[in-house]
Symmetry: C2
Amino acid sequence: MTKWALKLEYNGTAFVGWQRQDSGLSIQEVLEQAATNLNKGAPVSSIVAGRTDSGVHAEAQVAMIQLPEGYRPKQIRDALNYHMKPHLLVVREAAVAPDGWNPRFSAIHRAYRYRILNRRARPALLEGQVWHVAAPLDTVKMHAAAQLLVGTHDFTSFRAAACQAKSPIRTLERLDVAQDGALITFAVEARSFLHHQVRNFVGTLRLVGDGSWPIERVLQALAARDRAAAGPTAPAEGLSLVAVTYKDDPFKFET
Amino acid sequence: MTKWALKLEYNGTAFVGWQRQDSGLSIQEVLEQAATNLNKGAPVSSIVAGRTDSGVHAEAQVAMIQLPEGYRPKQIRDALNYHMKPHLLVVREAAVAPDGWNPRFSAIHRAYRYRILNRRARPALLEGQVWHVAAPLDTVKMHAAAQLLVGTHDFTSFRAAACQAKSPIRTLERLDVAQDGALITFAVEARSFLHHQVRNFVGTLRLVGDGSWPIERVLQALAARDRAAAGPTAPAEGLSLVAVTYKDDPFKFET
């Protein structure tokens, strides 16, 4: 058997999220069903770098599956893409996984992007891929407040009740807020994240942006170690997993 | 009555194009129906800067409608957007049209963007908004060939048979081809364009990019003044109207 590392792109809108659910179609189910087709009908299971919620997108999610030997990387990519039609889920690259490599535990860095469309008119071209906020937001204040969250902290206030991580302590490496016309983009990077952490950051920073909160209240929310002290969870549709980094990168030789 | 200039954004995928057709829903029909709702049910007609084909998108199309006096610009924008739900068509801005202004004949400059997704995997996040070309394209050669088309020329070779323009002569001000990862973007600017001109440029330059044509054959195609001498028409889905410029810009005071 060969272990394959897969770099995946998907539009999360029509999926119930990464993980299999009785309530609808998951990314995991579509991928594993396609892999099963390459495995003469025998079930194939997958491991993923980060389970994304319903509606969350990915430019570069990373997963691992195991298949019988004999395929070349391009065959794996093209055959899985063929079987995953017409779902908005594709394998961008496939590569043989290094010995001992695990898409989740070997990851040393994750990057997410969150986008707000900040204008009166709802989105037409970016429908389903941005959070539409009609009230004017002050991006400069949001960016300043975001810097108070960067570093190693107990992020209990920004962690979903359902979060299964053992520790609420994380090191936030980057949280930049930038504006280009009506589009506000959050670039968020860390080794790993708590459940809903990025969406809770954005929902909180929005309160700074619309003037409901002074900048320093973000520090108080962080110090409170209480989910109720921070802002609401921003909608899933604005979020995309854009990069997962490995020390021993399986994709380094693929293009 | 007040004449209103409207800046429109739309995803062309679900429309038969700008113009009313018996075959399905047009952008014109959805806009005029929404305006009719603001006009106590009396029909409203529109004039547009450039009629886009089925599947072609717009970030900033410009149209004009006439409605009874008494509305403010924000009311026009918000009320039209309310009535156009849930179609992927919105008014970004509304402004009172200057005297004698016409969205089509007053335009002094138009900018289009065409995007190719150049990789094996079909698009997931940009589905419907890019042309998927799996064969590797040489963007440097495409850009070099594109420069041979810039300037004032008889563009008969790049003009649709159905084109109604009196003259095939146009001045192409810009045709830049740039690559960012798998995404190839064409930035195309002129005072005005012939029917299918941008898509015919892209379909021809693709032949240079994949090595089917040497660069200089683009010059021969231009000189032939024969549609059959140039390449095929690229698909509509990669094309978007991104800007229309006016000397007397109705939107200059709106934000």
